[in-house]
Symmetry: C2
Amino acid sequence: MYRKILLPTDFSDCAAMALGAVIGLKEAGSREVLVLHVVDIRQCEQALVGTAWVKGDPGAYLKHLKEELTVNAESKIKEIGGEIEKAGMTARTRIVTGVPFREILRAADEERVDLIVIGSHGKSNIREMMLGSVSEKVVRKARQHVLVVKQGGDEAAGEQS
Amino acid sequence: MYRKILLPTDFSDCAAMALGAVIGLKEAGSREVLVLHVVDIRQCEQALVGTAWVKGDPGAYLKHLKEELTVNAESKIKEIGGEIEKAGMTARTRIVTGVPFREILRAADEERVDLIVIGSHGKSNIREMMLGSVSEKVVRKARQHVLVVKQGGDEAAGEQS
């Protein structure tokens, strides 16, 4: 039913739980997973403002920052891809720069996924409290079905069994 | 993984699609489904205001209205339960009166379900536009994982195959 899944990750605990949910869907016929990490362009720009005292070209600094965050994400996203492959599904990984919910929606449409599996809360808690979480925006705007994975959901499930 | 599922329904098209998603999860080990319909107490009260010219006891009229809506829901919810049973899962049905998102959260906790499967948009479109949809509130407040089923999602999946 949900053959192709998009798994956005910000490497938070909640995103790790979403990975568990994706692997659990293998039995329902899910085969292919695209793991997506979005380097948040707004956070990069904020970091730039925070280092306004640094001499040199701000454009070059921004570029450097994005590259550093991308390199940093590479090993983490490969690890997630590896876990999916180990579970017997095919995984691709992708790192892009932009506004997270927009890039998630774009990837879901471009890749024609059947389902987006997303953690309910990411890392940017203060921003999320003010602007609504990435997952809320994805739920509202996606054309695809969205499975929202709650932090503590697995423990709750554990209690129940 | 999601052994026990709560399927709230307002008998809209989108809720019908959520039923399809629930049945699709059987392969992932889902076995037990609680189908819940909430008679919206606020709509009953609004109807009461709309008939203020009617002579007689407003309390009795409200009671009558709730009973009528409940009876009306019974055959529809039984049909949904029947479809789930036909798919080889066990189904229970329940009709309660209250505020939909609150009753959904209450049932999810009381029944210790593993997953809530809900349509993204219900029948009360104008109210939803103003106050946010029932599904948005459920996604935000539930302790359980939530699968949000989009209207048109199946057609989109059809295009992809």
